[in-house]
């Protein structure tokens, strides 16, 4: 029977009550007394030199408080990059300056030229239209390969070229990899594009800067996944405000998916302007503005080669990827195509030799950074597409080919620098075969064919490295931050607990799932535990939520802090029960002395901590509050096997998803309902990438899909019910909960299944199509069928 409380139960989410009744507190719901509004004048050309900006007439317009331009930010820091990648030759990446407002040049459509602060938003917009900008338009660099050609226009004049870095991994393996290709019995090659996406959390970004002249304190309310990171980056690198004079609050946040990790210019601007004007300054992005100012995701162009021996064992993988950085380096951008991508190229397979080359390129486009999965979807897509192609070329069953090459012994050190602690890839594939009903597929295909439709089945596996990340390791890899997590557990006198976590919930349900862990550890009701997050004045320094890290890292910090609490309460209980501490047991919220009927309740012990009349004051302090910082020993490695069934309308090329099944191994699961929901959402986004979404630029650097009129978001009618399963569980070996993380799996695992299924469907109709780039739109499918 399923548990009804604690770890493994699925209690209803407590945060839902406020979201369902319209009483959430999102950043745009916050209005600070006397606030002014900012409107950013953004570039409508992709590349240009600003010869002059005349703000005189605009500044005199009604309601205008001040117009800021780049000149106002001379001497102010630029937006920092949090990761430095070292290239194949041991040189650091090229790192351009990233000003808050453009300094002399605009580098993408959306780049902010000036900011108008006025009494009302419409007044700010009116004045922005009156700013006279003289701009000398320059040729736009859009295509990555063209950007690297000799004589290409440079996005940044002070860099030697548009190449950010040329990364080889593992560089020393390259000769052996090349030799393995020479010796291969079969080589399969595939060229593909991982389409550029816009994350599109439904809540657009908002920033409100506030300043208290009386105390000298600055406050930023912002739609962030990691308020402490914003406090550190903005305070230390941009505005020079020490942490103790800067508070960052990220209240209810309406989805993030990566794009709300990064520190953005608008946050720094609002904080800066609030101090300059001694007034709160609010910015609310419109959706159209979000398309040209939120960091984009993906945008890799790759050639992958897979070498096999005569027995169809994988012997080597070689890839050549161009990764778009956009015009500036967003916070974690350099790490995505490198350490979050190259290290995953082994996938679930025991390929002994791998070489990954990545050229990161500056272009006149919106900066590109992490989006749900970040690097790992790109790795999975390449690998699982090339394996599928190899199976077709060799005439073998694609599942059998995968099974033959599965890693089966753990721990397993890959040739790309990571060590998988646990996994059971046959187990997840077995689970998939059960839920996806492969045996009934031929009958379903015949039924589709009878209706004039082509039906295809696509399968793939995935592995991801998440629970980000061991600080000492990422430090060696170029991270300019640690990636631990923190928790403070405060126990009140009457026994209730407040956990202040450095993790941040923007849909993940921490307020419900984190108490399940504590309730299990102490044996009390979950309602006795409250979770606080999202305010740097409350929680200890934490690194926030991304990379499927909240439970694996943040949850582990909470467990460590709770262990300290339990150790202390046992000392108090031993004193109260006049027993040896070693004999004290805590179960169901009661401390008892082993082998006796003597006991004391949790609430009596916590009361004693705050009313220490009968208390071992000589040994321990009164009070009950503990903090822990947890730094993981390794990444965690969730894995799984996914299957997609599609129907293709051969007349129109339209693809419909008929069924989608996902079997995942997340290790231990705290709240199955929430885990299922995370997988559903990831699959929805993966289907969106595979079928619909495409952030496309024209050759002049204009974004063609710059609103929901042209950027196709998945709707309810685009997807089916999903079958998900996480019964295959190999607990993580190095964190106290044995959990691996589930937030990104769906988005990582689903795109190749969709494309594999489409190719399968087309081939079943006699079309010699072995690849269609994402999004697999009706127009593209029709063109491929009629090529």
């Amino acid at each position: 029977m399923p548990k009804d409380h604690g770890i493994g139960a699925s209690p209803k989410r407590r945060e839902d009550v406020r979201f369902l009744s319209g009483t959430g507190n999102y950043t745009d719901d916050i209005n600070v007394s006397g606030q002014a509004y900012v409107h950013f004048l953004r570039s409508d050309v992709a590349h240009g030199r600003i010869t002059s900006i005349n703000t005189e007439a605009a500044a005199a317009m009604p309601g205008v408080l001040k117009i800021f331009t780049g000149a106002d930010f001379e001497g102010v820091g630029g937006i920092p990059c949090g990761w430095q990648v070292t290239d194949r030759h041991g040189e650091p990446m090229q790192e351009p300056a990233h000003p808050v407002l453009a300094q002399g040049k605009v580098r993408y459509v959306g780049d902010q030229i000036a900011a108008v602060v006025a009494e009302t938003l419409e007044q700010a917009r009116d004045a922005a239209e009156a700013i006279e900008v003289d701009l000398e338009e320059l040729p736009a660099v859009v295509d990555m390969k063209a950007a690297l050609a000799d004589g290409a226009t440079k996005v940044h004049d002070d860099l030697t070229s548009n190449l950010c870095y040329d990364w080889g991994f593992v560089e020393e393996n390259k000769p052996a990899v090349d030799a393995a290709f020479e010796a291969a019995a079969h080589v399969t090659t595939l060229e593909l594009r991982n389409n550029r996406l816009v994350a599109n959390p439904m809540e657009p970004r908002v920033a409100i800067g506030d300043f208290n002249r009386g105390t000298g304190d600055s406050t930023l309310y912002t739609t962030s996944q990691n308020p402490h990171v914003i406090r550190l980056l903005m305070g230390a690198f941009v505005l020079g405000i020490p942490e103790h004079k800067l508070r960052v609050v990220a209240p209810d946040v309406g989805g993030g998916f990566g794009t709300k990790i990064f520190h953005y210019a608008e946050e720094a601007f609002c904080t800066f302007a609030a101090k300059a004007l001694n007034r709160a300054v609010k910015w609310t992005s419109t959706r159209s503005e979000a398309f040209i100012s939120d960091a984009h995701g993906r945008d890799h162009v790759t050639k992958i080669e897979l070498a096999l021996d005569a027995e169809n064992n994988f012997t080597a993988i070689r890839t050549d990827t161009h990764a778009n950085m956009g015009a500036y380096l967003s916070t974690f951008a350099p790490s995505v195509p490198t350490w979050l991508h190259g290290t995953l190229m082994a996938g679930n397979y025991k390929t002994p030799l791998i070489y990954v080359n990545v050229k990161a390129v500056f272009t006149n486009t919106v900066p590109v950074d992490a989006y749900r999965g970040a690097g790992r979807p790109e790795a999975t897509y390449q690998l699982e597409r090339v394996i599928d192609k190899a199976a077709r070329e060799l005439g073998v069953d694609p599942i059998a080919l995968r099974r033959q090459n599965f890693i089966t012994e753990f721990p397993y050190a890959t040739p790309v620098a990571v060590e998988y602690d646990t996994g059971d890839y046959h187990g997840t594939m077995d689970a998939l075969e059960k839920i996806a009903d492969f045996s009934g597929f031929e009958a379903r295909r015949k039924e589709s064919e009878a209706r004039g439709k082509l039906r295809g089945l696509g399968v793939n596996c995935y592995i991801e490295a998440c629970g980000i990340a061991p600080s000492n390791l990422v430090g060696q890899l170029g991270a300019r931050a640690g990636l631990y997590e923190s928790a403070t557990v405060r126990v009140n006198a009457t026994g209730g607990l407040v956990v202040m976590t450095g993790s941040h919930s923007h849909g993940q349900g921490h307020e419900t799932s984190f108490p399940q862990v504590i309730a299990e550890m102490i044996g009390i009701d979950e309602s006795m535990v409250e979770i606080e997050h999202g305010d740097t004045d409350k929680a200890p320094m934490g690194m926030g939520t991304y990379g499927s890290r909240s439970l694996a890292v943040g949850g582990s910090a909470m467990v460590r802090a709770t262990e300290k609490i339990i150790a202390k309460t046992k000392k108090i209980a031993a004193h109260l029960l006049e027993a040896a501490e070693a004999d004290i047991e805590l179960k169901d919220g009661t401390f008892s002395v082993a082998g006796t009927d003597k006991s004391v309740a949790w609430g009596d012990v916590t009361l004693a901590a705050y009313v220490p009349h009968n208390y071992p004051l000589e040994d321990i302090e009164p009070g009950l509050e503990e903090t822990a910082f947890y730094d993981p020993a390794n990444f965690t490695y969730p894995s799984g096997a996914y299957a997609c069934e599609v129907e293709v309308d051969p007349e129109t090329g339209k693809v419909t998803i008929e069924a989608f099944s996902a079997a995942d191994d997340f290790g231990n699961v705290v709240n199955p309902m929430i885990v299922d929901g995370q997988v559903h959402g990831g699959i929805g986004q993966g289907i969106g990438q595979a079928l619909l979404e495409n952030a496309a630029y024209d050759e002049n650097g204009q974004l063609l899909s710059a609103s929901y009129m042209d950027y196709a978001m998945p709707r309810a009618s685009d997807v089916p019910f999903y079958s998900v399963d996480h019964s295959s569980q190999t607990p993580c070996t190095h964190n106290p909960l044995g959990v691996k993380g589930c937030g990104e799996a769906g988005a990582i695992g689903s795109p190749p299944a969709v494309v594999n299924a489409v190719v399968d469907a087309l081939q079943s109709g006699g079309h010699k199509v072995d690849h269609v780039d994402m999004p697999v739109s009706p127009s593209r499918v029709w063109a491929a069928m009629n090529a």
């Binding site: 839902d16 009483t23 657009p204 929901g677 978001m713 709707r715 309810a716």
Partner: protein, 161 residues
């Protein structure tokens, strides 16, 4: 500026509006009802759906003055006076039909509109009715399930309990 008066969730409310003031803006900024959200500017996402004279509309694509004298219901008016969630809201909680909560007010208001006209919709009808409501978190699975459950249908056979 002109004064606009409407009945919102059963109470008569008034405020000043310009010609260009959107209903969503009037609800959020003038009346302080921030449960209605704005997620796009091209009338696609549906986070702003409210009922005007009993019909679901996108409040970001209607002028406040167009709703002068109308009867408006918003997410804030859906639960009982003591805070008890209505059947549809409760089904969303029971079936995990929301994650970040941002699209949720519009989803609830659109779903309520559907169930009024079609008390026992099929899965396809639910999905079709949500054409103008975008959710980025749930992949729609549990939203569709919650709406069908709220209509009294047995959803236990739907995959992935």
């Amino acid at each position: 500026m002109s004064q606009v008066t409407m009945t919102v969730n059963g109470k008569q409310m008034s405020g000043d509006a310009e010609g260009r003031t959107l209903l969503s803006q009037f609800l959020r900024e003038t009346l302080g009802l921030t449960g209605t959200h704005v997620g796009c500017d091209t009338s696609q996402c549906g986070a702003c759906v409210v009922h005007v004279d009993g019909v679901a509309v996108k409040s970001c694509t209607m002028l406040a003055m167009e709703a002068d004298g109308a009867d408006v219901s918003t997410i804030e008016g859906q639960a009982a006076a003591d805070g008890t969630l209505n059947a549809l809201q409760q089904a969303f909680q029971d079936h995990h039909g929301l994650q970040c909560g941002f699209c949720t007010p519009g989803m609830i208001m659109s779903a309520a509109d559907l169930l009024k006209a079609n008390p026992k919709p099929t899965e396809a009808e639910v999905r079709h009715h949500l054409e103008g409501n975008i959710c980025r978190c749930t992949g729609y699975h549990n939203i569709v399930k919650a709406i069908m459950a709220a209509s009294g249908q047995d959803v236990s056979s739907i995959a992935a309990e």
